[in-house]
């Protein structure tokens, strides 16, 4: 047989893992048991499918196998009447084609993993491990901690869910909007972690951007009535479309302005724009849709020069209303500098600097340096580049700023 069993198992894992785990958690209430049984089922699939052939419906095979495994484990573990009742519930096969129930389970899982009673790092870890199905070692690499630290973090997070009685269900209608924002924030954090680490010494990290997009896609599909999950998905796709152009042959950062736009991935841009349009049809424009609109302005501009900077400045002003933050204000200043000239931008940047909200953020001196450079004030620009280099937190960014500094003509 020429079927590549490993590839089929891997594909099934990607599409079915969260579904199997989510359902098993609901029926057993035991997170560890659910993960172990799901893992066992995939291990069995690897062994059996290469001998018996790939079943007609691989997903259904996995669900049944994992479920049987859970029944076995529970039966062996205890004969208490409560456990026996639980076994009866687990053993009862659910209709695999019941999209509502299955969908609800995965949403329940995602909302529970992103519960605000958990620390942010616990939310990230649980989401990667339990929803995305990464191994503990992979999650550890993704979060830049040792495997032992990550294992402990996951145990503690599951303990908190159990002991603090974090419920395994969707939030109530009045809690849903803030909790949905919380889930979106975790997914965007995952994406940004991956985005900041696509090159250099961090190349060993797992593909967090890819995982974040996969999770956002899932969330967008499971919450069709909510436009913001699609706004986030669009935003990620549009940023991710530039992944091949963001670094040069030596791994150095390339600015948006200087990127080779033929290397942007067309398919991602097209999908991002289409997803964004369907979100905007709802008529309730939240912060992720606004950010995606900005990303779309960049992604669809033929050249850096022909970018609609005035439009981008307007979008940043709208974003500042729904998401007031000094970082948004800084980006607004950059857009104004591009549309009205560096002097107008610099005025806004100086106001921001005076507010003090961006102290310690390397992009404040870096932006100032860039605007001063454009104004021909090179000595002042050099001083700002030096402060930015001091504050930058990755080698990529430091290297980029050093190059800019050397390029300054005195």
């Amino acid at each position: 047989m020429s079927v590549d069993v490993d590839a089929v198992v891997a594909a099934t894992f990607r599409s079915e893992w969260s579904r199997v785990v989510a359902t098993l958690i609901r029926v057993t209430g035991d997170w560890d048991l659910a993960e172990e049984c799901a893992q066992d089922a995939f291990a069995q699939a690897l062994a059996r499918w290469s001998v018996d052939g790939v079943p007609g419906r691989p997903g259904a095979w996995i669900v049944t196998t994992a479920r049987n495994r859970a029944v076995d484990r529970l039966r062996r573990r205890s004969v208490e009447s409560a456990k026996l009742r639980q076994i009866a519930v687990v053993a009862e096969p659910v209709a695999d084609d019941d999209p509502g129930g299955v969908a609800d389970d995965r949403l329940r899982l995602l909302f529970t993993c992103c519960h605000p009673a958990l620390s942010l790092e616990a939310r990230v870890a649980l989401t990667l491990r339990t929803v995305a199905g990464l191994s503990t070692a992979e999650v550890a690499r993704g979060c830049l901690v040792s495997e032992a630290t990550m294992a402990k973090r996951l145990v503690r997070a599951k303990g908190k869910i159990r002991n603090a009685r974090i419920p395994y269900r969707m939030p109530s209608a009045d809690q849903l909007p803030t909790r949905t924002s919380g889930v979106l924030a975790v997914l965007y954090l995952l994406f940004n972690e991956g985005y900041a680490a696509t090159s250099g010494a961090d190349r060993v990290r797992v593909d967090l951007c890819g995982e974040a997009i996969r999770l956002a896609r899932l969330l967008a599909r499971l919450m069709p009535g909510e436009p913001e999950p699609r706004g986030l998905l669009a935003l990620m796709l549009l940023h991710h479309s530039r992944r091949d152009a963001r670094t040069d042959a030596t791994g150095g950062l390339v600015t948006l302005e200087e990127q080779d736009r033929t290397r942007w991935r067309r398919a991602d841009i097209d999908e991002g724009v289409a997803v964004l349009e369907s979100a905007l049809d709802h008529g309730s424009v939240g912060p992720y849709q606004l950010q995606a609109l900005i990303a779309a302005c960049h992604a669809t501009a033929e050249t850096a020069r022909s970018t609609d900077w005035a439009g981008i400045a307007r979008l940043y002003r709208r974003l500042a209303v729904v998401l007031p933050s000094p970082v948004v204000a800084l980006n607004h200043a950059v857009a104004v500098a591009m549309s009205e000239g560096p002097a107008a931008g610099l005025t806004l940047v100086e106001e921001l600097a005076a507010d003090g909200g961006l102290v310690g953020y390397h992009l404040l001196p870096a932006t100032r340096a860039d605007l001063l450079r454009r104004l021909g004030r090179h000595a002042e620009a050099a001083a700002e580049y030096l402060s930015a280099i001091e504050l930058a937190d990755t080698d990529d960014v430091r290297d980029f700023l050093r190059r800019r500094l050397t390029d300054l003509t005195p």
């Binding site: 519960h115 009673a117 002991n163 603090a164 009685r165 974090i166 419920p167 939030p171």
Partner: protein, 111 residues
């Protein structure tokens, strides 16, 4: 499931009162939850200067005369509620009047 709500507020708000701040004021939050059988108990506490902490170290009973933690916010009261899970407890705590300016710490009971 039983939950303890520790009601915390800025020490300065409660320090000057002898009978407890707002002790006589009506408290619809408590009345509603009492009527629904959700709130099992609740009261206001004397300020931290009247607190005693008890610790046992190496078999020796150590008494302290302050609150359990040195922060600006102190526990001013508590409520014991019975509800299904943390999300329900959060919703109830968020409706407590002190949540507006202080904070409530939710702690599940054992068992």
């Amino acid at each position: 499931m039983k939950f303890m709500l520790f009601v915390c507020a800025d020490a300065a708000v409660v320090d000057n009162d002898s009978d407890g701040p707002g002790a006589d004021e009506p408290m619809p939050w408590a009345d509603e939850l009492d009527a629904a059988g959700i709130r099992l108990d609740g009261d206001q506490l004397r300020p931290p200067r009247d607190a005693t902490t008890v610790r046992v170290r190496g078999g020796e009973v150590l008494l302290g005369d302050g609150p359990f933690a040195e922060t600006k916010e102190v526990i001013v009261g508590y409520d014991v509620i019975d509800c299904a899970d943390l999300d329900e407890a959060i919703a109830i705590a968020a409706r407590h009047p002190v949540a507006q300016f202080g904070l409530l710490e939710i702690r599940p009971f054992y068992g």
